[in-house]
Amino acid sequence: MLGIDERLAAIRGSSDRKRHNARTLAALTTNPGCARRAILDAAGVHKDKIAARVGHPTEIGKMSKIAVLRGTFFEQQVKAEGGAEMLRLLRAELGLPIEQAHYEDLGAAEVDATDPRSKREQSNESRYQLTRQAMRMTAGSGPDAGTMFASPMLRIAFGGVWVYLEPDLVAFQIGDKFHIVEIKSFPIIDEVADPGKVAGALRQAAVYVIALQNLMEELGRGRDLVSPEVLLVCPKDFTNQPTAAVRNVRKELAVIRRQLERMDQVREILRAVPQEVTFDLAADRQGRPTRSPADLKRALNQIPARYSPDCLSNCEMGRFCRSEARGSTNVLGRTIREDLGGVDSTSMAVALATGRLRPTDDLEETAHLLRTIYTMRADCLQGAS
C-alpha cells in the first residue's frame, strides 16, 4: 500500500506539479463535494491540460493582458515610496492614529546556483524564512512597532506539499494585531463595490490570514495575534487613487479551514479510486501529450464528479464534466432536481411526466407531481393556441 503522497504523485504522473496560490486554494470552497476535483487539485494536476486533451479546452483564469498590466500598476502605486500612500490610507480612510511606519520589503530572495533545488523553490524558501524572522522580531517588539511588510512570503500545507503564498502587504500593527492587506484593481464606486469581486478578494485574504495564523502559532505567539479584519485597497470611483475598506473575514476563515481539513481526507476518497488511475499525459520531448484522449477519459470516469453549472466558471474540468453529465437535471441548474421532486435524469423526468413510464412505489409521489405540472403546462399551451 502506497502512502498518500506517493499515490498523489502517481496520479500526477510525469508532469510537474501545478502550483497553487491563494486564489486557487480559495476556489476549493466552491464545490466541496466533488471528489474528482478534490483529487486533481490535491495531486497538483494541470487540469487545463487534461481538459484540453479530452477535447474541452477552457479559458478559465485567462485574464486580459491589459487588465493584468493595470492591476500591477495599481499595486505598485499603492506600495510606492515606502508605502506612503498606504500610510495615508490607514490614517485618513480608516482614521488610525499611526504616527509613522517602517516599510520593510521582504521580496528579496537568496538564490544559490550550486543548490540542487530549483531557483523558484530556493527563492520561495528563502523569502519565507525572511518573513518568518521578521514576524518573530515584530511580534515580540512591543506596542510601538508600526511596520508594513511588503511582499512577504507565507506558506500553507496542502496536498502533502507547501503552497507558498504572497499577500500584497502585512500591516503591523493596528491595535496590537497583524492585518492582511489585499490590493485589488476593481473599483469602489460611491462606497459600493461589485459583491462577487469583493467575495473573491475576501476568500483570498482569508487564506493569507490562515497562513499567517499558522506561522504565529509555530512561533509560539498564538493565532489571535492575527486579526480576522482585513484591509481591502481598491481604486476609488473612476480614478487611480486608492481607497480602503475594512472587512471581517471570520466566516470565510471557517469555510476555508473546513475545506483545507477536508483535503486531509483525500486519503478517504483515494480508497475508492483504483490504484492504476493516473492523469499522466505522457508528454513527448516537445512537451506534447501522447496519452490517448479515450484513455484519459477512462481515468477521469474512475473518479466521480459532482457537476453544477457554477463549475463552468470555477473549474477547468467544467466543460468536460458538463458533457459527461448530459442528460442529468444538474446540467440545467442547481435547483432543477429539487423543483422536479428529486429526479436526476431529464429523460426519466419527461417519461414520468408524460406517463410513458410507470413509476416504482418510491417514485409514486414524484410522478404525481410531474404529471400535475406536465398536464397544467399542456392545458395552458393548448388553451393559448
Partner: protein
C-alpha cells in the same frame, strides 16, 4: 426557478427545442427601439472603448474612443454618444398628450405619445449605462473642466434609464438576455443563458443545426465574440493591445488615422454579431402577441418619461450619488409594490404564468358544479347580493374557510370568500361566496355574466393586478429624523470637485 419553468427546461433539453414559459409576451416592444452595444477597456473602470448604437439595424453608428486611456477622450466619447441618443429622446419628449381620466380633478396629467426604448445585450450593458451616467452627470459645462452640455445631460438620462430598469414593470431599458429568458426556456442553465450568443443559438438555431450543437459552438469566443461590455482576452492580446501601442507610438496624424481605422474595424467585428443578435431577438419577441397589460404598463412608462423630461427642463439637476433616507425607503417600497403588481398582471393575462401559482397553491382552476346566482342576504340593515358557487378542482389548492379576497381574472372587480373546503384526495370541492361586480339592486336575477354558471371554468387567486395598493407612509423629506441623518438637501448640486473628477 419553479416547477413549471423547471419542466420547460427539462422538455427543452429532451426535445432539443426552446420551450415557451409564457403564452404571451409581457414586455413592450417599441416600434422604433434603439439598440446599444457597448465595449469597455479591460482593467479600467467602465472606460468606454466603443459602442454600436442606433435605431436602424442596417446602419449602426460606430463610436470609438480615439485614445481610450485619456480622460478627455472618454468625455468626448460621451459627447458623441450624446449626439446619437439625446436628439431622439428630446423629440419624443416634445410630443405629448393629456392622460384621460375618469376622476373629477383639476390637475391635468400629461404623458409622452411615445417613450424611448433602449436595448442592450445583457445586464452588464445596463450596468455600463449606470456607470456612464454616474461618470458624466456631475460634469460642469463651464470653468476649467468644462465639457459640452450634452455630456451631463447624457449622464442624467443614462442614470434615469438604468434606474428605471430596476423596476420589474418598466420597459424603457431592456437587457436582451433577460427579455428572452422571460419568454423561453432552453436546455441549458442560467449561466449559459447569460451568454447572448449561446442563448440565441438555443432559441433560434441556424437551419439544419440542433440547438444544443449550435449553443456549444457559440461558446467559442473567437467565432462568437462576447456580447460585452467586457472583451475577449484573446482579442485584447491580438488586436487591441497592439493597436493601442501603435496609437501611442504614432509619429504623425496620418499614421494615427490609419491605426484608428484598423482599431475601429477590429472593434466593429467584435460588436456586429451582437448587434445582429439583439435585432433578431427583438424580431422574435415582437412576433409573440403582447399580453393585455403590456399597453397599460407602457402608458405608465410614457408618463414617467414625460415627467422626467419635464423635470430636466425645469430643474435639471443630476440625481444624487445616494438616495436620502426617505427617498430610499420610498423607492424600496415602490420596487416591491410594482414587482408584485407586475407578477399579478402577468398571471391574470397568461394562463401559463398563473399555473405557477396554481402549483404552489396560491391559485386554483376548476369547474363550477353548482351556482346560486340570485342569493341575497341581510348581514346588517341592508340586503346585499351574495351569490354562492361550488367549484371542483384537481389543483393542489391550499385554502381554508374564511380565506377572503380571492379574484377571478375574468371578473377582476368581484371578490370571493371561502365558505368551506372538502377534499377527497384527487379532487377538492370549494364553496365560495361572491360579492361585488353584480350591478346595483337586489331584486330580480343578477346581471347576466356577472356570476359564473355551472360548467364554467374559473380561476381564483389572491393576486391583485390593479387598483389601489398601499405604498407605505413616510415622512416628508424635510421631516427626516436625526436618526436617519436629518433632512437631506432637496437636490444634489454638483461641485467644482465633481467637475474635476478623474476618469482614468
Amino acid at each position: 426557478m419553479s416547477g413549471l419553468t423547471a419542466m420547460a427546461r427539462v422538455l427543452a433539453a429532451e426535445t432539443g427545442t426552446r420551450q415557451a414559459i409564457c403564452t404571451l409576451r409581457h414586455l413592450h416592444v417599441a416600434a422604433r427601439p434603439i439598440v446599444l452595444v457597448p465595449i469597455t477597456l479591460a482593467g479600467e473602470t467602465n472606460a468606454p472603448l466603443a459602442v454600436l448604437v442606433g435605431d436602424d439595424r442596417d446602419r449602426p453608428q460606430l463610436i470609438v474612443t480615439n485614445r481610450p486611456r485619456v480622460r478627455e477622450e472618454r468625455l468626448r466619447f460621451a459627447e458623441r454618444l450624446g449626439a446619437e441618443l439625446l436628439l431622439p429622446i428630446a423629440n419624443l419628449a416634445r410630443r405629448t398628450e393629456v392622460v384621460p381620466t375618469t376622476r373629477r380633478t383639476t390637475t391635468v396629467r400629461r404623458r409622452a405619445v411615445e417613450a424611448p426604448q433602449i436595448w442592450v445585450p445583457n445586464p452588464a450593458g445596463v450596468e455600463f449605462l449606470r456607470l456612464l451616467g454616474r461618470m458624466t452627470r456631475f460634469r460642469s459645462t463651464v470653468g476649467q473642466w468644462a465639457v459640452a452640455p450634452s455630456v451631463p445631460t447624457l449622464g442624467i438620462w443614462a442614470t434615469w434609464f438604468a434606474e428605471q430598469s430596476e423596476f420589474a414593470d418598466s420597459s424603457v431599458l431592456v437587457a436582451t438576455t433577460q427579455a428572452l429568458t422571460a419568454m423561453w426556456a432552453t436546455g441549458q442553465s442560467d449561466l449559459e443563458d447569460g451568454n447572448l450568443a449561446a442563448l440565441m443559438a438555443w432559441i433560434d438555431p441556424p437551419p439544419g443545426t440542433s440547438a444544443a450543437d449550435a449553443a456549444a459552438r457559440a461558446e467559442d469566443t473567437i467565432a462568437f465574440p462576447p456580447a460585452g461590455p467586457a472583451t475577449d482576452p484573446q482579442f485584447d492580446a491580438v488586436v487591441l493591445e497592439p493597436a493601442l501601442r501603435d496609437l501611442d507610438a504614432a509619429p504623425d496624424d496620418q499614421v494615427r488615422e490609419r491605426v484608428l481605422a484598423r482599431l475601429a474595424s477590429g472593434l466593429r467585428d467584435q460588436m456586429q454579431p451582437t448587434w445582429d443578435r439583439v435585432w433578431r431577438a427583438i424580431d422574435l419577441l415582437d412576433a409573440v402577441p403582447a399580453a393585455p397589460h403590456v399597453a397599460v404598463r407602457w402608458e405608465r412608462d410614457r408618463e414617467r418619461f414625460y415627467a422626467f423630461a419635464d423635470y430636466l427642463n425645469t430643474i435639471g439637476l443630476p440625481q444624487a450619488r445616494q438616495d436620502g433616507a426617505v427617498r430610499g425607503a420610498r423607492r424600496l417600497t415602490d420596487l416591491e409594490v410594482r414587482k408584485s403588481t407586475f407578477d399579478a398582471q402577468r398571471a391574470y393575462d397568461d394562463a401559463l404564468v398563473m399555473a405557477e401559482y396554481r402549483l404552489s397553491g396560491e391559485a386554483f382552476r376548476g369547474i363550477v358544479v353548482d351556482a346560486d346566482a340570485d342569493r341575497v342576504v341581510r348581514p346588517s340593515s341592508r340586503r346585499v347580493r351574495r351569490p354562492l358557487i361550488t367549484v371542483t378542482t384537481r389543483d393542489p389548492a391550499r385554502l381554508a374557510p374564511g380565506d377572503r379576497e380571492l379574484r377571478d381574472p375574468q371578473r377582476p372587480t368581484q371578490e370571493a370568500a371561502v365558505i368551506d373546503v372538502e377534499s377527497d384526495g384527487a379532487q377538492t370541492r370549494i364553496r365560495l361566496e361572491l360579492s361585488g361586480g353584480l350591478g346595483s339592486g337586489t331584486t330580480g336575477p343578477a346581471p347576466s355574466g356577472s356570476v359564473p354558471a355551472v360548467g364554467d371554468v374559473v380561476t381564483y387567486t389572491r393576486l391583485k393586478a390593479g387598483g389601489y395598493t398601499h405604498r407605505g407612509t413616510f415622512p416628508n423629506r424635510e421631516d427626516t429624523p436625526w436618526t436617519h441623518g436629518g433632512p437631506p438637501a432637496e437636490y444634489y448640486v454638483p461641485t467644482s470637485h465633481d467637475a474635476a473628477e478623474d476618469w482614468s
